[in-house]
């Protein structure tokens, strides 16, 4: 269970989003940049889990993203698997200057699929795009992987801010779209209440509503 009960009363929507990826790819700084517009060149490694919430305006509705930042080291996974619970969105982060972190993406995807309750709107994020000279993973490679896995894709830099907000927004918007469609559908079908709780969201791919990203995903998340 997330610590959501209070927020739920005041927000229209609250989405739980997790940040995953190898150690030192910049997960915490992506969050710091997005939520507080801050960046720490030598921020400490994340121990356990931390989270922040950030409000977004989506189609005039206030949406609150509760973003969970987790430790990157493998061995903490035993604990962090609990963090996936209830997540409806995920940023899968690698460091474009360290191929190793890109190679781990498959493992992270598995983990996500194993531990999350449902299909999660996922964006593949190649962070540290400012390190042009040290780049080891090309944009094309990232895109290709994202397409193959049906993920959104974006390259970001928490350092110079580029695409950071866009990456989060992409995920949140997509969740929102899926949710509203679901709500509409259920209204149409039975007029029954569609709880706005994220747990009820069933994600469906929808080409029409795709947010503008560098590399539109090739298919649904299912």
């Amino acid at each position: 269970m997330a610590f959501v009960s209070e927020e739920e009363k005041t927000e229209d929507y609250l989405f739980k989003i997790v940040l995953v990826g190898d150690s030192a790819v910049g997960k915490s700084n992506l969050l710091a940049r997005f939520a507080r517009n801050e960046f720490y060149p030598n921020s400490k490694s994340t121990i356990g889990v931390e989270f922040q919430t950030q409000k977004l305006d989506i189609n005039g509705k206030e949406v609150k993203a509760q973003i969970w930042d987790t430790a990157g080291q493998e061995r903490f996974r035993a604990v962090t698997s609990a963090y996936y619970r209830g997540a409806v969105g995920a940023l899968l982060v690698y460091d474009i200057s360290r191929r190793q972190t890109f190679d781990s993406i498959g493992r992270w995807l598995n983990e996500l699929q194993t531990h999350s309750d449902m299909n999660v709107v996922t964006i593949l994020v190649g962070n540290k795009s400012d390190l042009r000279d040290a780049r080891e993973v090309s944009t094309a490679e990232g895109k290709a992987l994202a397409e193959a896995q049906g993920l959104f894709f974006m390259e970001t830099s928490a350092l110079d801010s580029s695409n950071v907000a866009a990456a989060f927004q992409t995920v949140v918007k997509e969740i929102y779209n899926i949710l509203s469609r679901k709500v509409m559908m259920s209204h149409e079908l039975k007029k029954q209440d569609a709880p706005l709780d994220g747990k009820t969201v069933v994600l469906q791919g929808d080409e029409n509503q795709e947010p503008a990203t560098e590399a539109p995903k090739s298919g649904g998340c299912c």
């Binding site: 269970m1 997330a2 610590f3 009960s5 209070e6 150690s23 030192a24 030598n42 921020s43 400490k44 490694s45 121990i47 356990g48 889990v49 430790a71 990157g72 080291q73 493998e74 061995r75 903490f76 996974r77 035993a78 604990v79 609990a82 963090y83 200057s97 360290r98 191929r99 190793q100 390190l131 040290a134 780049r135 080891e136």
Partner: protein, 446 residues
Amino acid sequence: GVDPSIRPEVWEFLLGCYALGSTADHRRQLRIARRERYEDLIKQCQTMHSSIGTGSLAYPVGSKVLDMRTPSKEAKVECREASTDDTDKREKYSDLGNNCSDSLYIDQRVNVSNSGDLTSVRRNADSAAYDSCSSSTSVPCGPCSSKRGGDCNGSDFITECDFDFPPLPVTDLFGKSEDEKEFDANEEVYSAQYKLMFEDDNMHSFQINNNADLIMESNVSSSLSKNVSCRYNSEIELVTYSDDYEPVLRPNSVSYKTETVNRLSISSVPETPFVNATRSQEGAAQEERVSEWLWTLHRIADRIHILSVVDVVRTDSHLDFYKDTRNLARMSDILAVYAWVDPTTGYCQGMSDLLSPFVVLFEDNADAFWCFEMLIRRMRENFKIDGPTGVMKQLQALWHILEFTDREIFAHLSNIGAESLHFAFPMLLVLFRRELSFNESLRMWE
């Protein structure tokens, strides 16, 4: 708290590095032995990453580890294959072997034979030529490591202090080094080594003649009372017999491990590759497989090292002390050595937070290392490869405590579904290093 000026001295007692009743002379000897031991370890680690022990900090940019001496991984490969530092190769490999258990993903499968076969290996300048020869030794599996007395201070600690923290699986650090140093080679060997480290009471002593490819193994029977100390090589030169040590060690020890840890072989064997002769039971094919396996380990070690370096530079980076990269390098060295001597723990995030104070307090890396090692003894469960089970248990305990001590908070946390107390996780894992200032946390530790 303790007055900062006497902190280093007092902390060694608090941590159990020395028994409270120990004599100054005994402590001095221990300190010397440890420093020498640490020196050995550093040398061995150097073969893994040439930046270790140099005062420079290798830091990863891209997937390459940059430092003045080792511009690229390729360079390391070369150094592995060239026989330049062949002396240390054995160590390097055992090193890797150890790391392998930390090795995030791979090594579990390395769990080969339970055979108590000890293998002494001789080394050849050519890396592919590493081979092992095992001489079978009966390994009466004793009541595993928990009974073992560990190194000298460990024994002191256990026998003379009231604390009784679970010892390292590699309780006997000094002894273990022997294994590490004497062994290298194939998986069986490694696994045997692991078994020895963790379960085996058998003590073995090896002797290395630094000139010939003579590696003899003598098996010292398993001990009854495991509070055997293993004194280590400081006094030992080329050859050591168990009896040499007895007096130095616990008088009541029935047996103990002796080590011939070859400072000599480390420092003075250099250009004499062991002739790869006799007892080899492995064929060339095997050797190749072994060398491939070792290479894999090397990459893993690399990976671990990169992770620890990445963390080192962001540990207490606000302190002026760490503006000096030499101090960062010290931290990195100690973590590398620790990962090696305690392969089942390896490096885990959070450790650098715990180590940092020792680096600040102690001028000598060896002293810092041994204090750190004593601390981690108490906390190993928190850093296990399969998860921080120790912390999880503590969190559960905390939850029960809260139920009795603070109903209000308990009710609130229950209400919002925060029973798992994740927020307290970092507090317990790094002992409030993240919540308190540097000085405050030291005082709290005390």
